[in-house]
Symmetry: C2
Subunit: 227 residues, 2 copies
């Protein structure tokens, strides 16, 4: 259930493919993808300045369920604002991106930072989950402009610019001994895949990768069950 943005939905699919042990096409999962870039802007809707994306999200979710999918993944953190509205009526399991993400934290990490849109940070859905794993989340509002720039650059297709905007933020956090940086906007792992960010891989938590892993794990368990 994607398109928010379209490249993030492609990133999720790539990660599903690379996490699958496969020698031939038929070893991979079947994936139906609603890569619906026209879904109204999530931030604007939350701020009250734009149309709600909920009706289109609801419609796309129902269409995916109607196609017979067994689990739904939504590679957009900000859209999880409507997660409960969607989950309540979703006829199949719908994995929360933060539930997936906290299963993949750097070993022994204590100090976490969550980077994402202002709306995602305000929802605080990573905070409790990280606290439950013994991590303390620290706010870094001084980096929000750089994070917003990195997100916008990826959405505009300029991955190098996104990576260069994100790299100094990661450098600062590593320097300050933060040991887990949750890239809680699905454009950020794409920015972080650029060369400028390569040095910081060990502290990064990639919720898109975690969501892909959750999807692959679901598919594996479905395969091993009798039909």
């Amino acid at each position: 259930l994607g398109g928010m943005g379209p490249q993030a939905t492609v990133d999720l699919q790539s990660k599903i493919i690379s996490l699958t042990e496969a020698k031939r096409d038929q070893d991979h999962c079947d994936v139906w993808v609603a890569n619906l870039a026209s879904i109204p802007d999530r931030l604007a809707a939350i701020r009250g300045t734009g149309t709600s994306p909920l009706p289109i999200l609801m419609d796309a979710m129902q269409k995916l369920a109607g196609l017979g999918v067994g689990v739904i993944l939504m590679p957009c953190n900000t859209a999880h604002y409507w997660y409960e509205d969607l989950r309540r009526v979703c006829p199949v399991p719908f994995i929360h991106i933060a539930d997936a993400a906290v299963r993949y934290l750097p070993a022994g990490a204590r100090r976490a930072v969550v980077l994402g849109t202002a709306a995602t940070l305000a929802m605080r859905f990573y905070d409790d989950r990280l606290a439950a794993h013994g991590l303390k989340v620290e706010a870094v509002p001084q980096f929000q402009p750089a994070v917003d720039l990195a997100i916008a650059a990826v959405k505009a297709g300029d991955l190098a610019k996104g990576s260069e905007a994100l790299a100094p933020v990661l450098a600062n956090l590593v320097e300050a001994r933060v040991d887990a940086v949750v890239l809680a906007c699905t454009e950020l792992p794409i920015a972080a895949s650029g060369a400028a960010c390569a040095a910081y891989a060990s502290v990064i938590v990639d919720p898109t990768l975690a969501l892909a892993a959750a999807g692959v794990a679901w598919a594996e368990s479905a395969k091993s069950k009798p039909a």
Copy 2:
């Protein structure tokens, strides 16, 4: 209409995104994707040793049409064996990958080679179209094992191996003054995107990129028409 293989379907989506002039998510096209890796093996079916993929392709095509898509793209050359069967009942335009590809030939090219599965080459659907553009297609059966290896490597997720298998083929063709190499299996442009093949970009015809361009052109023209 994809999954043949799954990475090729991701490649098509990436190319649709990168060919779209966009500053924000909503500038991109909406794309519904059937990334159905379980579609039976096309080569085996054509050789008479496996199940036909046609019923599943037909079902997926009908489902996509039912979702309201306006044009269908199928990023698999070999599956075009069933193109006419599908097109005949397809309620929306269905672009043939070779029709898209021959719109993007290197300027002044005269001598072409088509690389793909043995089944795609046997169908000869590129040959007439290339001839109509003044290109003579030359057969290179001596490279089929290397081409098959490159395709299998990409399907198994080993892009470096795919690229290394394809590079000597491209080197030989360039050395022999072939000036258009059609990568007529959707795994081959992925292999060709690897570093080992970077030197041969000027002779390459990428049908996946051409198919993406055709899709984007369709979406642009649909946008400019009154609803």
